[in-house]
């Protein structure tokens, strides 16, 4: 068999898009932007950036001067078309070891150790098709926003519904951008449900996501969608169960649970 070419990938599948292994790298904070009173977006420039898939995340590791380490995962909010840098949108958790540091201490110019992108399950790209039903609970909107931004950057004509459950208008992340997308893209619809307090004169949903709400949103799509659900554990579990009950096959529903790891 001398001279025969060996085709295909032997052994494991290499990291998508590059031959580099998963390593920790030091990223530089270039911008910090508040999204809500408790949520900030951190723009980070990576020395070894590689394009991520929308929905993937990075692991962030903090090392205190005395050597103590804490590690958490944060979804990438930005689209892979923005090269060399990523946006991480992080909610400040009251007793969060890492989120409080990011919010209270970090300033532009600081370095953050991170590795990624990781995750092959909760990802979407136009090649996977649609239509899309994205269901967000609170900060679970972050990876779904990456999907929306990626979709827009690629000009993908995939119908999408974002059902976004949030406590109040003030706590809505990306409110302005979502409003703009909703207005300018006829295939995209953002449906809010404000569970604690609603905008003045609000006539829309004002309760926890339930079967009836999902049915009504699904009715605005004329095909069975790919569904992505992200948010707190209980919300994700309930929503996924209801979606299965509506007839969407389990393998067309992807879930990611957010929450404090402690």
């Amino acid at each position: 068999m001398a001279g025969a070419a060996v085709s295909g990938r032997l052994g494991g599948a290499p990291r998508q898009g590059a031959a580099c292994p998963l390593v920790w790298q030091l990223a530089t904070v270039t911008a910090i932007r508040p999204e809500t009173p408790t949520v900030k977006t951190f723009t980070l420039t990576l020395p070894d950036w590689m394009p991520h898939r929308a929905g993937q995340h990075y692991d962030v590791r903090l090392t205190a001067p005395d050597g103590y380490q804490a590690q958490r995962s944060y979804s990438v909010a930005s689209e892979p078309e923005r090269t060399g840098e990523i946006d991480l949108t992080v909610e400040r958790l009251e007793d969060g070891e890492v989120s409080t540091y990011l919010h209270d201490v970090l300033v532009p110019g600081d370095l953050v150790e991170l590795r990624g992108p990781v995750g092959g399950y909760f990802v979407w790209e136009p090649g996977m098709g649609g239509p899309l039903l994205l269901v967000a609970g609170g900060s679970g909107v972050v990876p779904l926003m990456a999907m929306l931004r990626h979709r827009a950057a690629r000009g993908a004509r995939v119908p999408v519904r974002l059902l976004y459950s949030v406590r109040s208008p003030e706590q809505t992340i990306y409110a302005e951008e979502l409003g703009h997308l909703d207005k300018t893209d006829p295939l995209l619809d953002v449906v809010y449900t404000y569970t604690r307090s609603q905008p003045k004169g609000w006539g829309g949903y004002a309760r926890r996501i339930d079967r009836r709400m999902l049915d009504e949103v699904l009715a605005t799509l004329d095909q069975m969608p790919l569904a992505y659900v992200c948010g707190p554990t209980l919300m994700v579990e309930r929503t996924a169960e209801e979606l299965v009950a509506t007839g969407i096959p389990a393998d067309r529903i992807r879930t990611e649970r957010f929450g404090p790891t402690g």
Partner: protein, 85 residues
């Protein structure tokens, strides 16, 4: 409590490739599912992945300064796709 997505980094560190799409077969109840959907406890002294249906421990990983300890007895098998999408 999180899901297997939270263990993606550690699993890739160990296996050298994304593992969230690998299918685990629970040794206790027989449920088969993507590792991404298993219930993950990631800040204990180690990583624990539990079956989403019966909560039995499927996979345990401890990282010490010079080694990984892995116990996969809770899985009858783990189906790792040869190619990722």
């Amino acid at each position: 409590m999180l899901d297997g997505n939270a263990a993606a980094g550690l699993l890739e560190e160990l296996f050298g490739r994304d593992m969230t799409m690998s299918l685990s077969h629970c040794a206790h109840c027989g449920n088969q599912g993507a590792l991404a959907t298993s219930h993950a406890y990631v800040q204990a002294p180690g990583f624990i992945l539990r079956c989403a249906i019966c909560e039995a421990v499927m996979l345990r990983i401890v990282s010490t300064p010079d080694a990984y300890f892995v116990d996969a007895r809770g899985m009858t098998n783990l189906r790792i796709p040869r190619y990722t999408a």
